[in-house]
Structures are given as C-alpha cells and as structure tokens.
C-alpha cells in the first residue's frame, strides 16, 4: 500500500502540498512518483522570488530513467527552494514527503485550494497506476 500522508493535498500529476496557517505552502513530489521515477540524479528547483501560476512547469526532477517536469499545484511567489537537493538529489527518494521537498510558496489565490485532491482521492489515482 502506497504511503500517502493524510494531512497533505495532491495533484493528479503526483505533486504534494503541505498548507500552513500563514498562507504559505510547501511542495514536493509523492513517494509514489519517486518510486516510479527511480534513483534521482539531479533536481532543478525554481528560482526564489519568481512568481508561478498553478499548473506551471516550475521544477525538473531527473532520475536515471527520465527528466520529468514538476507542476506548481498553486499560484504564488517562491519563498525558498531546497538547496540540499543540489548536492543530494537522492533526498527525493529517501524522504519524498520530508527532506526531499522542492520549494515553498506564498499563495496568491486561496480559491485554488479547492482543486486539490485529498489523500483518499490521490490514493485512488495511485491505485489506478498500480
């Protein structure tokens, strides 16, 4: 059974979002996604300070199999990006929901939150893949 933390929101394209009370959010790719992609060799994170819109390609995760785009689940300004990934891209494999996070956002449009999947809905997406 896939590991899907219940406090996170998801996109069908396998990104997760952790929402905070102060209007910011943290984004990464799911454990299922990293498992499908295999060993990470390179992660390209978005530039701090840049504005992204929901659905934008804003990061690239490159594994031994493929380089895949990561879409921003929400619109906002990029506050931080995970600099540890430059040296240790494998953090995405070992801790997809923790140390392998990609970037944080200050949200500009909270109405977009309704579009996200909850853990149960995402579990169905994963089940279809398996």
């Amino acid at each position: 059974m896939a590991n899907i933390p219940s406090h996170l929101k998801f996109l069908k394209s396998h990104e997760w979002v952790e929402l905070y009370d102060d209007g910011t959010a943290r984004v990464g790719i799911s454990d299922h996604a990293q498992e499908m992609l295999g060993d990470m060799v390179f992660v390209e994170v978005p530039e701090v300070g840049s504005e992204v819109s929901a659905g934008d390609e804003c990061a690239v995760v490159e594994s031994v199999k493929a380089a895949s785009d990561v879409y921003s689940p929400l619109s906002g300004e990029v506050l931080t990006s995970n600099d540890d990934l430059a040296e240790s891209p494998e953090l995405v494999n070992t801790g997809a929901f923790s140390d392998g996070w990609l970037f944080t956002l200050r949200l500009s449009d909270t109405s977009e939150l309704d579009e996200l999947l909850d853990a149960d809905a995402y579990a169905e997406v994963v089940a279809e893949d398996e």
Partner: protein
C-alpha cells in the same frame, strides 16, 4: 546490417492490422491543396551511365582551379589514412547505433572525439557533435537561455563580425522562441568589436554575448576584454571558434578571468573535404556546471558488472527519445561519420601537426596579403591582426575581379559586398597550408594582370 525493404505482402499485412486500405489513406489528414501534385521542374530519372558522364563533366569544370576561398569552409590537406579508416565497414554509419552500447568501438571513437574537443577548447565537457557550425551556434544560444535563468530578456548580443550565414541560421531557429539577436557593430578600421563599443549595452539585461574567434573577416577579436565585459555584466559568453586556430590561440575556456561558458563551431577543417558544401559537423563544449543543458549525445566511460571498462551514452534523460518536445534539442542530428573522420584526423596530426597546419596557414595568408597589397589598387581593409584569412579592399568591383581570376583558373576569394555593403569592393582571401610559394606567386601575378588591364 543489410537493408531489406518491406514486400507488398508485408505492407498489406501492416495496413490490414490497423484497418486501413492503402498507404495513401494515411495522408488523408493533410489538406489536398497542400499536397504536391508532381514535381514538374525535376527531370525524369537518368541511368547510371548518363549520371556518371554528367557528373564527370561538371567535376571537370572545377578541376585544377586554385582555391583561395575560405569564409567558413576551409581547404586543408587530409591524410589518405583518414578516409581509408573512416570508411571501414565497422565505422561507416552517420548515426550513433540504436543499440548504442553494443557498438563499443563507435562509442569509444566518440569518447575520444569529446576528449580532444574539450582539450582544444579548454573546457570541461564536449558533446558527441551537432549538425554543422551554424546550427551549433543556434543550439548554443538556446542553451545559454536555458542555463541563464536569471536573465529574463532572452536577448543575445551578436557581433556583425560573426559569419552572416550563421547569423541567418541562428535567427531562423531562435526567432519564434522569443529570443532576440541584437547586432553589435564592429570598428571600421580594425575589423573587430571594440570592448569600448559594448559600453552602450551596459545596464541592460543580455543573456549572452557571442564572440567569434577568428571573426568572419579573419581578424582576431579582443576575446579577453569581451569575455570579462560580459561576465561583469551578468552575461554568458558563447565562443564560436575555428578548431584549427585553437592549436595556436588561447582556448575559449581560458578567455579573460573566467573563460567562455560555451564554445561551438564548425568541425569541417578537421579532415572533412569541401565537397560542394557538405556534409560538415558542428561541435559544442561547455563548463561542467552547464552540462545538463548541453544538447545532443554525450558518451561516458564507465565499468561493467565485472569491473571492465566500457563506454555508454550518458545523461540521456534530457534527450528526445525520453523528453520528446521538451528535450534539450530536437535538431542535433548526429554527424557520426564526419566525427569519426575528424577524430582520426586529429589523432594522426596530433597537437604538433595541428599547430603546424595553423601556423603554415597563418604564414601563407600573411605572405599572400603582403604580395597582393603591393599591387596598385589592392589594400588591406583592416588593421587588426588575423589568423588565416584577410579582407582586401579593391579599387575595382569585386565580382569583376573574381570573374577575371576565374578565367585564369583561380578562385580568388569570397565577395563580401552582399553581406557587408558598407565595405566597398571587399574580398575575403584565405591561403591554407595547401598553398605553395608558386601558388601564391601565381595568384599575385594573376591579380596584377587584372589590375594592369
């Protein structure tokens, strides 16, 4: 591997499998008005005997002519061994094989090629070649835009001393991708870009500066000053270089304080015959930190499960068979056979041989320029020091002079008047190591006779 075409039965079976009547049906979605009804301007087929006769007659028109044209494609001596080895069955393919790792010999050649190019350019990594010099420069521009994300303008400083054909190709490839080429003028006396002229561009955002070395006029650019100016202004540096010249000149990786970020160019001078304009090949090198933006294939050296050394395609994750439209490049057609020939050429010449070729070409051009400029009506157009090409300024129309020389069996150079109308009656002349003292004297006498007339 034999090429076995499909039989009619194979074709019918495949059509039946997808439920289509004829191959023609597969093209239904192309509107009828866009489809060509025939090719009326193309002659009917000829048999082998007739073709051989026609080609022999055409080839005879060129035979024996002394060639002093460079302008991007250069006549160099090619040791006979180069093409004897390159055309062996084991090497004779233009492409990296589809089961690449099964062809260790081909991969090793490409790996050696990359090592040589990286060394010549003084940069960390090289790809396994590109289509030609012009498209390599276009790829370098696209790469600079990908690599320099902080620069939002997507504007590229492009000196007008870059080969005009390259500038056209680059513009055609990048124009519709939101990238703008901004002309950088050259100094009319020196025939090169002055670092001072770049002041005009300071304070604005430019993604990259292209620096040709030598430039299209054969003149050496002030590469250290230009490179340092670019880096001080948060602009990447793309070098477009002649590989033969690198045996003598400072490699791009050592220009200025930090070196050029990307270097590219035309590989033809390294063992590829002129043969009416192609095939050629392009090359590209860069600093290690940009390797993931480098287009095309890269061969790596590794060890297998038993610890034995072997070669493999590396960093494939961004290539077109995996990334499709998002690949780093979809026009990096591999010129594998040309690269094989150039690798053999470089191995046979060695660093010393390549240096001798460069030095002899430089010397011949300098001697020829002095001889020609002694003729009344012929003068050097620029004061800047050069490599193996020089621009002459004539008192007669260039086209007329070239026609008169052609009648004496001499291809006298490249007419610059179309690309550089501001240079009146200008002629670009090149004398490589293939020219003897007698050849230079023959050209001088012929030109003197044209001006005496």
């Amino acid at each position: 591997m034999p090429f076995i075409p499909h039989t009619q039965d194979d074709v019918q079976e495949m059509l039946a499998a997808i439920g289509v009547d004829s191959i023609e049906t597969l093209f239904d979605e192309i509107p009828a008005e866009l489809r060509v009804k025939g090719l009326p301007d193309i002659a009917a087929g000829m048999n082998e005997m007739a073709v051989s006769r026609m080609m022999a007659e055409r080839a005879a028109k060129d035979a024996g002519a002394l060639n002093f044209i460079g302008a991007g494609a250069y006549e160099h001596h090619i040791p006979a061994a180069v093409w004897d080895i390159a055309t062996r069955g084991e090497f004779y393919s233009a492409y990296t094989p589809y089961q690449a790792e099964a062809s260790q010999g081909t991969l090793q050649v490409l790996y050696e090629f990359q090592t040589m190019m990286a060394s010549l350019n003084g940069l960390d990594v090289s790809n396994a070649s590109l289509y030609d010099g012009a498209s390599a420069l276009a790829e370098a521009v696209l790469m600079a835009v990908r690599a320099h994300r902080k620069s939002k303008s997507k504007r590229i400083l492009m000196p007008t001393t870059v080969n005009p054909v390259y500038r056209q190709v680059v513009d055609a490839i990048v124009r519709n991708q939101g990238i703008t080429l901004v002309d950088v003028p050259y100094c009319a006396e020196e025939g090169r870009v002055l670092a001072g002229a770049l002041k005009h561009f300071e304070g604005d955002d430019y993604t990259a500066l292209v620096i040709p070395q030598p430039n299209f006029f054969g003149v050496l650019e002030d590469v250290d000053a230009l490179t340092d100016w670019a880096h001080a202004n948060n602009t990447l540096v793309i070098a477009v270089v002649n590989p033969t010249s690198l045996a003598l000149l400072t490699p791009p990786g050592e220009w200025g304080e930090e070196g050029a970020d990307i270097a590219c160019g035309e590989g033809q001078p390294l063992g590829i015959p002129l043969s009416s304009g192609g095939p050629n090949f392009g090359f590209m090198c860069c600093k290690q930190k940009y390797v993931r933006q480098l287009p095309g294939r890269i061969i790596g050296r590794t060890v297998d499960l038993e610890g034995k050394p072997g070669f493999t395609l590396t960093l494939q994750a961004r290539e077109q068979h995996i990334r499709r439209s998002k690949a780093t490049s979809n026009i990096c057609t591999n010129q594998g056979l040309m690269v094989t020939a150039s690798t053999i050429y470089m191995s046979l010449m060695g660093p010393e041989g390549l240096e001798q070729v460069g030095a002899a070409s430089l010397q011949n051009t300098a001697v020829l320029a002095d001889k020609l400029c002694a003729i009344d009506g012929v003068d050097k157009a620029f004061t800047g020091a050069g490599f193996h090409e020089v621009v002459l300024s004539l008192t007669k129309p260039t086209a007329e002079v070239l026609a008169a020389l052609a009648e004496q069996g001499i291809h006298g150079g490249f007419d610059l008047s179309q690309d550089y109308p501001e240079l009146e009656n200008a002629l670009l002349v090149c004398a490589t190591e293939t020219k003897t003292a007698a050849d230079l004297a023959r050209y001088t006498d012929a030109l003197a006779s044209v001006f005496a007339a």
